[in-house]
Symmetry: C2
Subunit: 358 residues, 2 copies
């Protein structure tokens, strides 16, 4: 049976001031009517029941996750005591799923990606799940690159070595490549056998636990301690102890790059990780002067500007290529070309110890 | 006895979004700790008791005036049914004052001017009141111009014809000049015998009522109807009827420009009518990069910018010579050079019928 694991622990400082410590990007409706985690859960509801849907989050964000996903059973929302990157997170989810369903296939998804249409995505997941179930291989989804992006990792695949299911081919992965420089990225995209690493994986829960045992034995030891206490009163304390002991490591770096039996399915859907306000601008409908407005705005002599201020009115004059975000207690005004510098602002807030604005 | 009349009916659209229909500039603390009307009342408290302090306002703003000036007796706060410019306003105040004190001198002040030091201003008022009481002349205060401002009216005076009191000379007024074009304004300032019309007047209450009778007989007739009902239950209804009947006209245009017995005292104090956000920028303390911040701000690569956002945090990158004003439900971002265009924004809001933001 397929289970979906939504990883929802990210801090998402790039959407300040809309994103805050307790409400990062995945819990916001920055793009669309519902929040990104709600869209993620809704996207797969034709494939999995709420009882087969899992979320891994942290204590700060858990209340909002409960609120936003009322159909997902509380016990399926796993709360990590501290963030330790994706390997422990995925291992923890695997334990919980195996206890319910020893034959389970799990699809690990990010909570904050924009994907459409849902049907094409579900179709891909179904094929991947079938291959993973039968072959015990690890399947990942690779996004067909549309530009030489330096912000993502890449996956190189072997064209003529693949497993097939439905309309999809899962090609054997040749290498996982770290985020490249621009020159390398250009070569990757030109080569044709490189895909963006979307961070989405499909595998049998028992497969990934076994791979963790091989490549991350210390983590596996910790997971086994946790497994002993599943469903008991000792669970929370053990989880806390293990998490504070294990080191943070990504599943890519810790497992995927070492194991041979990894396959990648090239995407057949639109995908966007909505990584910055600049992406939101690109994703938003625009008026004739290129302005994208969420909220109400009066813009004079202004072009190609994003205004994100739901429930407010924004009056601007002479704003060209700007990003403007207004919340109840904070305001951001940056040139679109410097959208990434929002991180600098968050760092400055941390330095000034302005926790009320973080 | 001296009475002070504070005219506080202005709509003040130039300070949107901070100023709103119910809280125009005079009821805000845009400059300083207390509001401008509170500063105006406090400025003259060494000269007049609260019972000799009068405010003319409208129904929308009256509750806030009551709240801000708790010492002024409620019956001294006169509420006009509709705005009819300054002549009816001043006539109405004169009626109320005369009923209490037939010998009264009244000083008519704007509620939203910044003046300092208070002592120099009170000294001027005292001298003006003495001259007005004894000579039955109309006295106005003229501001010594510091630039060829085209936004004010000017008063030309006769150098060698004056009345004296204390350290002050009140010169006979030669002409009231409307707002000039720039060339004319330059000539005015160069001439040396022109002052800015501050809109502040000092005269006996009986004098101004008599002048209204001569130059604005219809208004006088209306005022006499009101006078009959002062202190009776018919007052409100009569006031309403008369105000809807009389035409709006300024005391300058309706009376001052026609009567001969007008004198002007050149100012011996700092004066600023705080006419726009640009003025607020000039009046505010600035950091080394020329930024003036009310609230908390992180400004990177930004210079000579005004941030007015009490209680909020504003993060800006690449803002040079901008005005940024953030309130709970609205946000203004304009280049300083276009500070006057705030009016355009308010007009657009009116056109869109966005009354909740006006």
């Amino acid at each position: 049976m397929l289970h979906v694991v939504i990883m929802a622990g990210g801090a998402g400082t790039r959407f300040w001031p809309r994103s805050r410590t307790t409400t990062p990007k995945q819990l916001l409706n920055i793009v669309g009517e519902t929040t990104m985690i709600q869209q993620t859960a809704a996207r797969v509801e034709s494939l999995v029941k709420p009882e087969q849907t899992w979320v891994v989050t942290n204590a700060l964000q858990a209340p909002e996750v409960f609120r936003q996903l009322p159909l997902v059973p509380r016990e399926n929302i796993l709360i990590e005591p501290v963030g330790r990157n994706t390997a422990p997170c995925i291992g923890l989810a695997a334990l919980h799923i195996l206890k319910k369903d020893p034959q389970a296939v799990m699809a690990v998804l990010a909570a904050d990606h924009l994907i459409k249409p849902d049907s094409a995505f579900c179709d891909t997941l179904s094929s991947a799940a079938k291959i993973a179930h039968e072959s015990h291989a690890c399947i990942t989804i690779g996004i067909i690159p549309t530009r030489p992006e330096t912000g993502y990792g890449y996956i190189q695949f072997v064209e003529n070595e693949f497993k097939e299911s439905g309309n999809h081919r899962a090609h054997r992965v040749k290498t996982f490549a770290e985020k490249p420089n621009l020159e390398t990225a250009i070569n990757f995209v030109a080569a044709g056998d490189f895909l963006w690493n979307s961070g989405m994986f499909i595998w049998r829960a028992d497969t990934i636990v076994k791979l963790i045992e091989i490549y991350l034995p210390e983590l596996h030891e910790g997971l086994m301690e946790i497994e002993q206490t599943l469903g008991t009163t000792k669970y929370d304390k053990t989880l806390d102890r293990v998490y504070h002991k294990v080191k943070g490591i990504s599943i890519d770096y810790g497992v995927m790059e070492h194991t041979k039996d990894v396959y990648v399915i090239p995407s057949s859907f639109e995908w966007n990780d909505v990584g910055s306000w600049e992406e939101v601008y690109h994703l938003s409908p625009k008026d004739a002067t290129g302005n994208a407005v969420m909220g109400e705005a009066i813009l004079l002599d202004s072009t190609n500007t994003l205004v994100y201020a739901p429930g407010k009115i924004v009056a601007g004059i002479g704003l060209n290529d700007y990003i403007i975000v207004s919340t109840n207690d904070a305001l951001l005004i940056v040139p679109r070309a410097q959208a990434q510098d929002v991180k600098k602002i968050v760092e400055e807030l941390q330095r000034r110890k302005k926790n009320e604005f973080l």
